[in-house]
């Protein structure tokens, strides 16, 4: 038994395991990079790095088989290997400080990346010149929002995440006096005005703009610069029976309304929103090019940030390589559209953003110390040796 434990320990602290894990991670990163051509950057991260196993679907029945260890598995083993080796071989000696510092930095970096993967939220804020917003929108996720707009001063919002919508079926919510029944859901679709001669099949929609529109399902896009535009047919049913079926999609500009029990409701499938305790106004977006070229020289957004309590009210210039850090969030100049009148800011919440900075210093310093000791030893030996 003791031998088995020892063998177990020796395996986990061995350099052989380190080398094997490093080789596995190299292969993983290489294959994932190649696969980006097919899957795009987001899907690759889910498939290769944020997983315990890389799955491969059998052609035909489509049964997923684990074919290679994923990022979490390799990363986890590396972490165990690193920690184990350090605890087991720990020595308080000067000549070990470099190696220990470098590896502690690496451990910190791995943990930091894990935290980032779990905690980081990034959204977009799209602002026209002069527009004010107190929320950001997700770049990939959507939500079905049902708003009680009866009170002109205050909207009561029930937001259903897209994942739930995708499961279809009936949804009941304590704040809603009716049931929401998702009849159909399409992860990516295009909408078109229906041909008035009516040759195409009848729309499942019975209310709102839906009956006049034709829905064309599209394959899911993985391209980094495109986003999926989902669509759904939603039936609203009160105690007395159905109120109608609506077609919803972020492609529809104006929200569709319905009345029930003397209250007015709005129904909209929109980019998932996160509300902030402050508002941002775009004062001016600038986009300079080098004369006689299309090469961008600078993008910048002058914005006004005003907190709800009125404690903060100031103007800030956000430009490339110079983000605004405010309220635990960071605002980056990410893009622009609409003939330079609309700015797109990326809004990131990442509580672990400082970790890589600390890890970088530790690793750099650690390696300098380690290699410095080696180099010093080498020079001492050479000068001690008689000149050849």
């Amino acid at each position: 038994m003791k031998d088995l434990l020892r063998a177990f320990r020796d395996f986990f602290v061995s350099l052989q395991l380190t080398v094997a894990l490093l080789i596995l991670s190299l292969v993983l990163v290489f294959v994932a990079t190649l696969d980006q051509v097919n899957l795009g950057i987001w899907a690759v991260q889910e498939k290769y790095f944020r997983s315990f196993f890389v799955m491969w679907r059998l052609p035909g029945p489509g049964i997923p088989l684990p074919v290679f260890p994923g990022g979490y598995l390799i990363g986890g083993f590396l972490l165990i290997n690193l920690l184990g080796a350090h605890i087991y071989r720990f020595q308080l000696a000067w000549r070990k400080t470099g190696i220990q510092l470098a590896h502690s930095g690496l451990i910190l970096l791995l943990i930091g990346e894990l935290l980032t993967g779990l905690l980081q939220r990034d959204n977009h804020m799209r602002l026209d010149q002069g527009e004010t917003k107190s929320y950001s929108e997700s770049f990939r996720h959507n939500e079905l929002a049902i708003l009680d707009t009866t009170d002109p001063k205050l909207d009561e919002v029930v937001a259903i995440p897209e994942d739930l919508v995708a499961e279809k079926g009936a949804i009941q919510h304590p704040k809603l006096p009716f049931q929401v029944h998702i009849k159909e859901y399409y992860p990516n679709a295009m909408l078109q005005m229906r041909n008035p001669s009516g040759t195409s099949a009848i729309s499942p929609a019975t209310a709102g703009i839906g009956p006049r529109l034709a829905l064309i399902p599209l394959p899911i896009t993985y391209k980094q610069d495109e986003r999926n535009m989902p669509a759904a047919y939603v039936e609203i049913a009160g105690t007395e029976g159905t109120l109608g079926t609506w077609l919803v999609s972020p492609l529809l500009g104006a929200p569709q309304t319905l009345s029930y029990g003397g209250r007015t409701w709005e129904l909209v499938l929109r980019f998932q929103r996160t509300y902030k305790p402050f508002a941002v106004t775009l004062l001016k977006f600038s986009h300079d090019k080098y004369p006689g070229t299309e090469i961008p020289r600078n993008f910048s957004s002058r914005v006004r940030v005003k907190s709800d309590g009125g404690k903060d009210d100031r103007e800030v210039l956000i430009y490339m390589n110079n983000p605004l850090r405010y309220g635990g969030l960071t605002f980056y100049q990410a893009g622009f559209e609409n003939n330079d009148r609309t700015t797109i800011l990326q809004v990131v919440r990442n509580p672990g953003w400082l970790i890589p900075y600390i890890a970088c210093v530790m690793m750099g310093l650690g390696l300098v110390i380690q290699f410095g000791i080696t180099l010093a030893g080498f020079i001492r030996k050479r000068t001690a040796a008689p000149a050849a």
Partner: protein, 615 residues
């Protein structure tokens, strides 16, 4: 004699270098040099016409040399003057590189019509241009990575034709037999013409001829402004912003508002007149006067453009290539004969070439006001520079010519790569907004490039070990051990720089995009280098590899680095499309295959190696 050989050789090459620094003389009576030094705003930067001529020629035909149909060879600036001032002549020069046979067919051309089977004149291409343009429009909607070789070549050739047309219309309307006369007549007719235009606007009677003549000139100048490539006209006296230079067309369009013709536009037209007449006195005088009026207003810009044109004619990187090859050969021979004298000579020459490349890189940095690495071209220069610097250190310590062989080879190879990368156009580009941060360019980019250099160097040192040990008897035990130590030391160095560089890159990404790591191909490429170096070090520490294994791993580092440097930029190329034909992809594949072969050689058991065989 052996004793003085290294110093004598160094002196000889120093003389050769000094020769390249002497300002070149004019080929004839016309002041072509002065013309080449005139400043112009192109692609966001004020540069000498000489640079425009050279980079245009590289883009059009992949080399700077031009031979006329009557077998005269032209300097780049002379060629540019012909394009600008007498395009009918330059239309006959065979300077369009067309290598794809399908494109040749499209243009109804045969290889035997071309210079060297692949360079053709504008006159030869002209009948096929409408069809070329049609094919290019068909190819354009296809994503770059998915284009077929034919589509790619069609677009290349079309872009070359467009560049040539843009140059032709930069200072005069290309079909004008005498643009100076046209401008003088326009100037004379202008007051009456403007009166007629004003009268017509008010609805009063006006001379139809005058109105028509004005409209015609407005069209001509408007066309020049639209298509013209060179911004040669400085703004008015009060405006000192160096980015406000304009095209001749724009300056001439102003005439309708100011009532006068821009004198600088007339000066260029007069320069053209003198050039066509080959009137040296007049040509040289206009060049001198034009320069004089700029000299007071644009002191720093002119200083830079003068240095740049001298830099162009000195060609320091070409000179260095010659010296690197010599170094390499001398160092190799030093292992066979005269180790002391030849080894020392190689070491001196390596130092000389290093000084010249350093000066070249420093000049580029000063011209651009940037840290050394700003694009792929400058990364090639810097990888070579960093590797040679490490080689000099190795050679200083070990004195066994290994550093000189590796340095000569890497120095030459990286400059050759840089030369091929320079065919895309001007290598001193303006920085896109995302990259516009001197702090990060100076830290992340420099550190990571040094990491590339060191990883390559360890790989080349390993190749020296393998080739010498396996095929020759020259690798004695001491040298073998020394090489192993060198490889180990350089791998340590490479680990440090590639790790710190990669993490710094992550921090830059966090600063500008809000994420430290995004698994983007370039980031992954850098990560793979770090991982590989870490694998080498841990395998050695764990006793998994000995000398031979270490060498095999180090050679594989070459593949890893080459992939990260160039391979990730071609992603999609080899996978998705027929773009396999890309020359760069071929070269990368060939390099990878050669390295795999070398790694396979290490499978030969040590006792079979010629150097280690028990005699």
């Amino acid at each position: 004699m052996k004793k003085y050989f290294p110093a004598a050789l160094l002196a000889l090459f120093a003389l050769y270098v000094a020769g390249t620094l002497v300002p070149p003389k004019n080929p004839g009576a016309l002041d072509v040099q002065g013309f080449g030094r005139l400043p112009v705003l192109v692609n966001g930067r004020i540069k000498p016409l000489d640079t425009v001529a050279r980079t245009s020629l590289l883009t059009l035909q992949g080399r700077q040399r031009v031979t006329t149909p009557d077998q005269r060879s032209l300097r780049p600036a002379e060629w540019l003057a012909d394009v600008l001032f007498q395009p009918a002549k330059s239309d006959t020069y065979r300077i369009f590189l067309i290598e794809n046979h399908e494109v040749l067919d499209l243009l109804n051309l045969k290889p035997e019509d071309g210079d060297g089977g692949k360079r053709f004149s504008y006159l030869q291409m002209r009948p096929g241009l409408p069809e070329l343009d049609r094919q290019a429009k068909l190819a354009e909607p296809t994503e770059d990575q998915l284009r077929t070789p034919f589509q790619k070549q069609v677009l290349h050739v079309r872009d070359r034709a467009v560049l040539y047309l843009q140059l032709k219309h930069s200072v005069q309307v290309a079909d004008s037999p005498d643009f100076l006369r046209e401008l003088i007549q326009f100037q004379k007719a202008l007051p009456a013409g403007l009166q007629a235009l004003a009268a017509k606007k008010k609805g009063e009677p006006a001379s139809d001829d005058a109105v028509k003549a004005m409209a015609e000139m407005r069209d001509r100048f408007g066309f020049m402004d639209e298509i013209g490539y060179l911004r040669v006209i400085p703004p008015g006296r009060a405006d000192t912003d160096p980015t406000h230079w304009r095209t001749v067309g724009a300056a001439l369009l102003d005439s309708f508002d100011t009532g006068g013709v821009n004198p600088d536009a007339v000066a260029y037209a007069a320069l053209g007149y003198a050039w066509r007449k080959q009137d040296a006195a007049q040509f040289n005088q206009i060049v001198a006067l034009f320069r004089e009026q700029l000299a007071k207003r644009y002191v720093p810009q002119l200083q830079k453009s003068d240095v740049e044109s001298r830099f162009n004619s000195a060609e320091p990187f070409y000179t260095s290539m010659v010296i690197y090859v010599t170094t390499f050969l001398l160092a190799i021979f030093s292992w066979l004969k005269w180790p002391e004298a030849l080894g020392r000579a190689a070491y001196y020459l390596l130092g000389l070439a290093f000084v010249i490349t350093s000066a070249g890189i420093a000049t580029r940095m000063w011209l651009e006001g940037r840290p050394p690495v700003t694009n792929l071209y400058s990364s090639a220069l810097f990888v070579g520079w960093g590797a040679v610097l490490l080689c000099l250190v190795l050679e200083k310590v070990y004195r066994n010519a290994v550093g000189s062989v590796a340095g000569g080879l890497i120095g030459f190879a990286t400059l050759l790569i840089a030369h091929h990368l320079s065919l895309g156009g001007d290598t001193l580009e303006m920085m896109r907004a995302v990259l516009d941060s001197n702090f990060w360019l100076a830290t992340h980019v420099v550190v990571i490039t040094v990491g590339y250099a060191a990883t390559f160097l360890s790989g080349f040192l390993a190749i020296i070990y393998i080739v010498r040990g396996l095929f020759t008897k020259s690798l004695d035990r001491a040298t073998a051990d020394a090489l192993a130590r060198m490889v180990y030391g350089i791998v340590c160095f490479a680990t440090l720089f590639s790790l710190v560089g990669t993490v710094l890159g992550g921090i830059w990404a966090d600063q500008s995009w809000g994420r430290f790591w995004g698994w983007d191909p370039k980031e992954n490429g850098a990560l793979i280098i770090v991982l590989w170096n870490a694998i080498i070090l841990h395998a050695r520490w764990g006793g998994l590899v000995r000398q031979r294994g270490l060498m095999a791993l180090a050679v594989f580092g070459n593949i890893v680095t080459a992939w990260s440097w160039f391979g990730v930029n071609m992603l999609g190329v080899g996978l998705h499309s027929y773009g396999f034909m890309d020359a760069a992809f071929y070269w990368l594949s060939a390099f990878v295959v050669s390295q795999v072969v070398i790694i396979a050689l290490t499978a030969v058991p040590t006792e079979k190696w010629r150097s280690f065989r028990a005699s």
